[in-house]
């Protein structure tokens, strides 16, 4: 059964007041991840097909063509995992 671990290589949580999660997707899955997230989330803005400003179920995220993404204003890692599941699986 496919899980988010199949797509996610690492998650970095930023410290301090400006809470955010930086998700680094697996290198060999990054193209698949980018296209799937673009399918499922609402595209607000795109810059040269390198950066995509998106929203998904009230959560704002910024996706990079290099296979990394910043998720903002999430409560905790549980909420991140839930969003990632809906976006990727």
């Amino acid at each position: 059964m496919v899980s988010i671990e199949d797509y996610v290589a690492r998650v970095e949580e930023t410290c301090g007041e400006e809470k955010a999660f930086i998700v680094i997707f697996k290198y060999d899955k990054r193209e698949h991840v980018v296209s799937r997230v673009l399918e499922r989330a609402k595209l607000e803005k795109s810059i040269s097909n390198i950066i995509f400003e998106l929203t998904f179920k009230g959560v704002s995220l910024r996706l990079y063509g290099t296979g990394k993404a910043i998720f903002r204003n999430l409560k905790d890692k549980g909420e991140l995992n839930s969003i990632l599941s809906e976006l990727l699986l």
Binding site: G16, I51, I70
Partner: protein
């Protein structure tokens, strides 16, 4: 003559590409890249000399012990210490500071005493003292930092008193790159009979250091920020002070004699001589060998030239960053009073966005608090992006960085 283009030839990693772009490594305050001389020394150690040190009479152990001791000597010479007895190998700056906190502070500091730090410290020079203060009940005082990131010496002077037992201060800020006047602070500390501990993580790799001239009691620094491997660092301590302090950790290597007294039902222990008294257990021998090679490499370049190169590059980068309308640079505008570290932000973007954007162009920088949250509070910042230079960085790399910053501004 100092030639960064020739130096680059010694660094294999600088030939690689990241995200399809030539690598530009501007995260040197976090860790430096390694020259082939260091990589080769590590390989040679494991291929030809690997053994435990000070434990055996066989040939390999003798060779490993000689190399490990030579590494201490080389580091002692590099910072103009009196001898290898004053050089304790540890994991890094953090462990060196913790060693002082727990070996000296735990036994010496008590309620009513004060430890003086500054608001520009890395967390590694704050947290050990905060933890210890909860155990021993002493007070920590924080010297203020001016809005440009320079140390407020009046604040520091006003906080030093007869209650102050140790002054703990970074030589160079890991956020702003500001160089503190260590001789001035050491004089103030010693006038009040306080000890002086310096976090040299950002200075020893970049400036000529003479511990006798600075007159510091302790100097902590990391090997990996100065071309050496990770997991090896140094605590310099004045010999007479190290002689007086009891060990931080117990185990093999740090003892001369452990004798069981049947009548007392306990062991009487005699410590080993310096510096081994503070190096319990099997040490990071190969790390020491790698650090020795890194120190030799830097000595050959000349630390005055290293400093001049970074100062010139920093001045150039700061001048060119002014061309970017949305880029805000923090810290002093005068590059001559700082090392090669530039904190900045881009209007409308978080520092992590800036770092990720630069990453997509092959440019590696740091984002966040850089383990110095109190200083970000002084700057009234959520976080910052940070570029930091070293011996192999060039003007052309700065030019590329500026071009990309200008593109990022359009985001």
């Amino acid at each position: 003559m100092f030639d960064p283009y020739r130096i680059r030839e010694d660094f294999p990693i600088l030939k690689r590409k990241v995200n399809g772009q030539p690598l530009i490594y501007f995260d040197n305050a976090a860790t430096s890249q390694k020259p082939k001389q260091v990589i080769e020394a590590i390989k040679n150690f494991y291929e030809n000399h690997n053994a435990n040190v000070h434990r055996a009479v066989h040939t390999l152990s003798q060779e490993a012990s000689e190399l490990y001791e030579e590494a201490h000597e080389e580091v002692a010479n590099f910072i103009s210490a009196k001898g290898m007895e004053e050089i304790v190998f540890v994991r890094g700056t953090t462990e060196a500071i913790n060693l002082v906190a727990y070996a000296w502070g735990l036994r010496s500091l008590k309620k009513g005493d004060e430890v003086l730090v500054t608001l520009m410290e890395h967390h590694s020079n704050i947290v050990p003292w905060e933890i210890l203060s909860k155990i021993n009940g002493f007070t920590i005082r924080y010297a203020e930092v001016n809005s440009d990131g320079t140390l407020n010496y009046e604040s520091l002077e006003s906080l030093i008193s007869n209650k102050t037992k140790i002054v703990c201060i970074s030589h160079v800020s890991n956020v702003s790159g500001v160089i503190n006047d260590i001789k001035r602070v050491a004089k103030l500390a010693h006038e009040r009979h306080a000890l002086m501990l310096v976090d040299g993580a950002q200075s020893v790799p970049h400036l000529p250091i003479d511990v006798k001239d600075l007159d510091v009691d302790f100097l902590a620094f990391s090997g990996h920020k100065m071309l050496g491997p990770t997991g090896i660092g140094v605590l310099y301590g004045k010999r007479d002070i190290l002689e007086e302090i009891a060990p931080f950790q117990g185990g093999g290597e740090m003892i001369r004699d452990v004798s069981y007294n049947k009548g007392a039902g306990s062991c009487s222990i005699t410590w080993n001589e310096l510096p081994w008294k503070f190096e319990a257990g099997t040490p990071n021998v190969c790390g020491g060998v790698g650090l020795m090679e890194a120190v030799k490499y830097l000595r050959k370049l000349g630390m005055e030239d290293v400093k001049a190169h970074e100062c010139e590059l920093t001045e150039y980068a700061m001048r060119r960053m002014q061309e970017c309308e949305k880029v805000r640079v923090y810290g002093p505008k005068d590059a001559s009073i700082k090392c090669g570290i530039i904190p900045f932000n881009v209007d409308g973007l978080s520092s992590h966005d800036v770092a990720l954007l630069l990453d997509s162009y092959g440019i590696m920088i740091r984002s966040g608090f850089h383990c110095a949250q109190p200083l970000h509070q002084v700057f009234k910042l959520q976080s910052s992006a940070r570029v930091s230079f070293y011996i192999y960085n060039t003007r052309e790399e700065v030019d590329r960085f500026i071009d990309v910053l200008k593109e990022i501004e359009q985001v």
